[in-house]
């Protein structure tokens, strides 16, 4: 099914570039700049009205944000969208204007992974407190945290 959607995407948005990832859960990889348009197309034309999960993953070479989408009306299996962000300045367009349910999830990814969502209405920490240093889910974050005894806080 993901294959089908992928082909339709390629057809509908010719200027964007996609990649089809044949894995256990097939996924469609999208360029950061195209994400918003792709998301809008998927919601409005393909009926993917439900955003289930937004996940950030810290790979050695890149950050990746994974979106799991369904269509409530068609009752489909999840469609996985993946988008990469750079290690230095991780920024991804926010999909909150399209799916309001992404609001807290994007805040959570920002909080724990440090990926900025451009266009989010109220991007601030959600689980940790304001003023917390660092983003715990990054691989370079020490397991004990920076605030542990004997460790310097990063500036």
């Amino acid at each position: 099914m993901s294959r089908e959607i992928y082909e339709r995407l390629v057809e509908a948005l010719p200027e964007a570039s996609f990649e089809y990832l044949e894995e256990k859960d097939p996924a469609i990889s999208v360029k950061t700049d195209d994400l918003f348009e792709v998301a809008r197309y998927l919601k409005e034309d393909q009926g993917f009205d439900y955003l289930s999960a937004v996940t950030g993953v810290d790979y050695p070479d890149r950050f990746e944000v994974v979106y799991h989408l369904y269509s409530m009306k068609k009752g489909t299996r999840p469609l996985t969208l993946k988008v990469s962000a750079s290690k230095e300045e991780p920024e991804v367009p926010s999909v909150t204007p399209i799916w309001p349910g992404a609001n807290f999830q994007e805040r959570e990814v920002y909080d724990l992974m440090g990926i900025r969502f451009v266009g989010h209405p109220d991007l601030k920490r959600i689980l940790l407190w304001e003023g917390y240093k660092g983003h715990p889910l990054r691989k370079d974050f020490p397991l004990e945290g920076y605030q542990a005894i004997g460790q310097e806080e990063p500036s």
């Binding site: 894995e23 256990k24 859960d25 009205d49 439900y50 955003l51 289930s52 999960a53 996940t55 993953v57 810290d58 994974v66 799991h68 409530m72 009752g75 299996r77 999840p78 996985t80 799916w99 309001p100 349910g101 992404a102 609001n103 807290f104 999830q105 959570e108 724990l112 920490r125 959600i126 689980l127 940790l128 407190w129 715990p136 889910l137 974050f141 397991l143």
Partner: protein
């Protein structure tokens, strides 16, 4: 507008409901702006119970994560177990023996009954009942927890399921006990309904409160009873028919008025459906193995999977990334109540203070899962 006419100068007040508040179901805070008794604005604040479970999950081996999932939503540990082990089984492509599937379904459906009974009890507590429905619910819950104890050795933190099956086979004496519990459940639900369903005050307090239209429920990623009370016929047990749910005959309970009262009705209805599933499972359950042999050092192949189940509170999903090692590279929990809370401010605006706790109660949050 009236303010100008009367010439009275009034002010809104900001009240911090929580983190220590009797009806926030844990350490949850709502910054509520009030105009008299009416809610002008509400902002949920969470994270008081944050343990960074996802980071812990990356440190642990796959097996070590199972007891941690118990502590997510500590009322339904069995469902959490199931979601996680099924995600890992999908990752490593492990087949599960049939008897183990049945045992899992039995445990998960019992969990659903426990959760819904407690959720309704807590909702009624929030509505101002002096613990009577809650204690009725807890009484039934005790009997089910006794069953969990027989099977897993623990009442709440069950830690019962394993990759490729369950930890122990059911002990002798479990099935007769289960049969008597299941036989008594319809009477319990009837009693509950007699007490509450037609209660004039329950109707007055719940109907047309916290109305969540279906398109809004979908847009805000609501799941579980919240979504179905808004008239969306979406149950992952039916849509994905994961495990062996396709073998059972049950209905998806939906209601159409989208309010707090309908969420209550959906929970009652789902309890009845769970009893139906349990009755069928009791008849069908075969003899046989309950687990498969796995290598001592468990290393699933590389890749990423997302698996979701219909936990009592909604869609509980695990997104796992494996790099081929002994621990997950990324271990993400898609917790239903955290995402259901996104819609809370929208539901509460314009209602009274008393309604906020009712709406929150109808969403049915557990802070262990919201904050992770």
């Amino acid at each position: 507008m009236q303010r100008v006419e009367t010439g009275l100068r009034t002010e809104t007040i900001t009240v911090n409901m929580g983190p220590q508040h009797p009806s926030t179901h844990g350490v949850f805070r709502m910054i509520v702006t009030l105009d008299g008794e009416t809610i002008v604005d509400l902002e949920p604040v969470m994270g008081y119970l944050h343990r960074c479970q996802e980071k812990i999950g990356e440190r642990n081996t796959y097996l070590q994560n199972i007891p941690y999932t118990d502590r997510l939503d500590y009322i339904c540990s069995m469902s959490n177990n199931m979601a996680y082990v099924m995600a890992v089984e999908k990752l490593a492509q492990i087949e599960v023996p049939e008897r183990a599937e049945y045992i899992r379904i039995i445990m998960v459906e019992l969990t659903r009954i426990v959760n819904h009974a407690v959720a309704i009890g807590a909702l009624l507590n929030d509505l101002g009942c002096f613990f009577t429905p809650m204690l009725y619910a807890l009484e039934e819950r005790e009997r089910i927890l006794d069953l969990f104890e027989m099977a897993s050795g623990s009442r709440m933190m069950c830690n019962y399921m394993r990759f490729g099956g369950v930890r122990y086979d059911l002990p002798p004496g479990f099935m007769p006990e289960l049969k008597s519990v299941v036989a008594a459940l319809p009477a319990f639900i009837d009693e509950f309904e007699r007490l509450l369903t037609e209660n004039e005050i329950v109707l007055a307090r719940c109907q047309n409160v916290g109305v969540l239209p279906p398109d809004m429920a979908i847009a805000y990623s609501c799941t579980g009873p919240l979504l179905r009370a808004s008239g969306v016929n979406y149950d992952i047990r039916k849509v994905d028919s994961y495990s062996i749910y396709d073998r059972f005959d049950f209905d998806v309970v939906t209601e159409t008025n989208c309010d707090v009262y309908d969420r209550y009705l959906v929970r009652i209805g789902e309890m009845r459906q769970s009893v139906r599933i349990l009755e069928q499972a009791l008849e069908q359950i075969p003899e046989g193995e309950v687990s498969v042999k796995l290598p001592r050092v468990f290393k699933p192949p590389e890749g990423d999977v997302y698996h979701r189940i219909e936990s009592p509170k909604g869609e509980l999903g695990f997104y796992l990334v494996s790099d081929g090692g002994t621990n997950p590279y990324r271990y993400k929990i898609r917790s239903p109540t955290f995402i259901n809370l996104t819609v809370l401010p929208e539901l509460c605006k314009g209602h009274k203070v008393a309604d906020v706790v009712a709406i929150l109660g109808s969403i049915d949050i557990v802070l262990g899962e919201v904050d992770r």
